[in-house]
């Protein structure tokens, strides 16, 4: 499979090379889209689909004539999930490659490490990472496409409240995603009148979380359990949860919203709920849902092109690229200040992840409602509404 994608990549490279040679004869300079993603390393399950999405759609847009009559050129570096490398590559994109806009940053750490550079250089930057700190407080040049972890926490707690749960047990990974998710959950729990009565953590590379789950099980009055984390950790938590035969309703975060999680967790995932983008359940979306055609088109295109199933994370990259393109088109140039302003002005853009309504004090543009609550039934995602 890896071999096949390599061959394909070589093919794509050759194709883009020839087309760009042909085109460059008459067309203007290409528009440079810079990107740094965690394509390898512990966060590769984020960066890998993100890069695939960017490559695929840049190619597609170029085939359709590009943007403003100019071709797109994707310049990408792999930060291996390391924030310092992310910072260096961001610097390279800004100063050496002199890109027009950056779409990237798979993890919050990588994004935040690049923020001082993009802010000082005045470079429009669309991050694909989750934590709310990226856009709160608002930074002039920084936007992001995924819903914030705060929204995920709100959505989960909303669903819990709806089902009448008041006391919950929390278990979270100590990696960036889990730690930030834990913080946000604890922060918003009060608003929803929910009490976190057990608070456990695990390190992202742990191989057994039975001890922590035992503590939660033995805490009095727990109505439901929430796990905030990503990577293989949550799958192990799910397995341990089932093995311990804990009968309480179980929630995961959007960090595991991909089919590979179902594969890893197997039958143990049965009945758990999580907030996710509609990408996982395009068929179950009601006909009138404006996102339905977008989501279906992306899913079909991705799966046909890469021969592997879509994940929520690739969707973030899709939205990031499309927002960039829309802003550049609206600005009519790649003037950075103009593009930034147009990004801020985006209203009602229907993406894979949600419907974006940006503003001067909202550089994310999504609401918690863009998360759909899914439940695992019969080994597949089912929309709960």
């Amino acid at each position: 499979m890896a071999k096949k994608s390599l061959m394909r990549r070589v093919g794509v490279l050759a194709a883009t090379l020839t087309t760009s040679l042909l085109v460059s004869a008459q067309a203007a300079e290409p528009i440079k889209i810079g990107s740094f993603l965690s394509v390898t390393g512990p966060a590769s399950f984020l960066g890998d689909p993100e890069l695939k999405t960017l490559e695929m759609y840049v190619e597609k847009i170029n085939e359709d004539g590009g943007v403003l009559g100019r071709q797109l050129e994707l310049i990408h570096y792999d930060d291996v999930g390391n924030a310092s490398s992310a910072r260096n590559f961001a610097g390279r994109l800004i100063r050496s490659d002199q890109v027009d806009i950056i779409v990237g940053g798979s993890t919050t750490g990588a994004t935040m490490a690049a923020v001082p550079l993009v802010e000082q250089a005045g470079m429009p930057f669309i991050s694909l990472a989750g934590a709310v700190t990226i856009v709160d407080p608002v930074k002039k040049w920084v936007f992001k496409t995924p819903q914030s972890d705060r929204m995920a926490a709100e959505r989960i707690l909303w669903d819990m409240k709806r089902r009448g749960f008041d006391k919950i047990g929390l278990i979270s990974g100590t990696g960036g995603f889990g730690a930030s998710g834990r913080k946000q959950t604890l922060a918003v729990a009060e608003e929803y009148g929910i009490e976190v009565v057990a608070d456990e953590t695990y390190s992202p590379s742990d191989s057994d979380m039975t001890a922590q789950l035992t503590n939660i099980r033995n805490t009095d009055g727990v109505d439901a359990v929430l796990n905030f984390g990503f990577g293989q950790g949550p799958a192990i938590v799910t397995k341990n949860y089932a093995a311990l035969d804990i009968q309480l309703p179980f929630y995961q975060s959007h960090g595991v919203a991909s089919d590979s999680f179902l594969e890893l967790a197997g039958g143990a995932a049965e009945g758990l709920r999580l907030p996710a983008s509609p990408l996982l359940v395009p068929e179950s979306l009601p006909e009138g849902d404006p996102q339905k055609p977008v989501v279906q088109a992306y899913k079909e295109a991705y799966e046909a092109h890469w021969d592997s199933s879509v994940s929520t994370f690739g969707g973030y990259a899709y939205d990031g690229l499309m927002l960039a393109v829309q802003a550049i088109e609206a600005a009519g140039s790649t003037d950075k200040e103009a593009v930034r302003e147009e990004l801020e002005n985006i209203m009602g853009y229907v993406g894979v992840t949600g419907i974006y309504n940006m503003g001067p004090d909202d550089h994310n543009g999504l609401t918690p409602e863009s998360f759909r609550i899914l439940e695992v039934q019969g080994g597949d995602w089912v929309l709960v509404e």
């Binding site: 890896a2 390599l6 990549r9 394509v39 390898t40 570096y77 792999d78 390391n82 924030a83 310092s84 490398s85 910072r87 260096n88 590559f89 610097g91 390279r92 800004i94 100063r95 050496s96 919050t108 750490g109 935040m112 490490a113 690049a114 923020v115 001082p116 550079l117 000082q120 250089a121 934590a131 700190t133 100590t174 990696g175 960036g176 730690a179 930030s180 913080k183």
Partner: protein, 334 residues
């Protein structure tokens, strides 16, 4: 004259100075300056680590921990509590020196793999604390750091400065400041090496038994050099924090400790120029390998392995010996 220069202990410092100050004449790209500054920071760190590893022959697989404490202490003190950066840096160095002294005393009694294990454990504990104390450190997602400033004068990569009437952009200014710091770091280290203290340190590497019989208090000297190398790391960590503007716990991680020690071994233990070149190589390699895409990791591992197999003394000493051999040979023939 030339003969005297060749035999002078500081000759390479002159060469180094010429190189680092010639760079602004030929280099324009701000990104290259960014890399060069980082290389200088890390090179100064490994020059300090080399005192411990290369000269005193003691392994540390946890040095990034000290680098991390320096960086985070400076970051928190300046950004959260508004301390002046220089004060924060000095206090951080003192704190790190104290920590290194306290843990170094018992640890340095260990030898070989047990010493590597213990230093690794210390580094890990530091990294775990930084990672978990999110209230202060921002946790795994890291924290922003205020720019470096001294008496109201702020040093920023994006600023514009004038130096004797010449316009110097921020990234060049940072580079020049760091180049001077690197040279100072190297000169201080070389002075230590060439002093009685350095002799005692090297004797610990050469024969600890001999050292003890002539009255070297090996325990004291080991912890002294451990503290010195930790302070080097701490100061450079502080500088990096201000330069980078954002730090994450990755700079205190085990992986980073391995990177540091690899720079020392790869370039050439007990050779300041060697470890500097080791830092240059290891810092630039990922930038060159970025073109290899998914093969990057494998190629990197291969280069690392092959260099150490064929040049176990490090590439700089190997190259120097090679050139010397050639010279001697051609001299003999003439």
């Amino acid at each position: 004259m030339f003969e005297r220069f060749l035999n002078w202990r500081m000759n390479y410092v002159v060469v180094l100075a010429v190189i680092v100050f010639a760079i602004p004449l030929v280099m324009e790209n701000p990104f290259y300056y960014d890399m060069a500054t980082q290389i200088a920071i890390i090179a100064a760190t490994v020059v300090g680590l080399n005192l411990l590893v290369g000269y005193a022959g003691q392994i540390s697989l946890g040095h990034a921990g000290f680098y991390g404490i320096g960086a985070y202490f400076s970051a928190i003190a300046t950004t959260t509590y508004g301390w002046p950066p220089l004060l924060a840096m000095i206090v951080a160095a003192a704190v790190v020196g104290l920590v290194a002294y306290i843990v170094g005393r018992p640890i340095l009694k260990l030898k070989g793999h047990y010493l590597s294990m213990a230093t690794l454990a210390v580094g890990f504990i530091i990294a775990i604390i930084i990672n978990n104390e999110g209230q202060m450190t921002g946790g795994p997602d890291g924290m922003p750091v205020a720019p470096f400033s001294l008496f109201g004068w702020e040093l920023s990569s994006f600023g514009l400065y004038s130096f004797f009437g010449m316009a110097v952009p921020g990234h060049v200014a940072w580079y020049l400041v760091m180049a001077v710091i690197l040279l100072i770091a190297v000169i201080l280290a070389q002075n230590i090496i060439d002093s009685p203290l350095g002799r005692a340190l090297r004797s610990i590497h050469g024969s600890e038994i001999a050292a003890r019989t002539v009255g070297v208090d090996t325990a004291r000297y080991k912890s002294l050099v451990f503290v010195i190398s930790a302070i080097y790391a701490s100061v450079m960590g502080s500088i990096f924090a201000h330069f980078s503007g954002f730090i994450t716990p990755a700079i205190a991680s085990f992986d980073y400790s391995i990177v540091l020690i690899t720079m020392v071994v790869l370039g050439g233990m007990a050779s300041p120029m060697g470890v500097i070149l080791g830092a240059v190589a290891l810092k630039l390699l990922p930038q060159f390998l970025a073109g290899f895409q998914e093969y990057e990791t494998a190629v990197f591992g291969f280069i690392l392995m092959a260099t150490m197999i064929f040049m176990p003394k490090g590439f700089y000493p190997t190259a120097v010996n090679f050139v010397r051999g050639k010279l001697r040979k051609s001299g003999g023939e003439a």
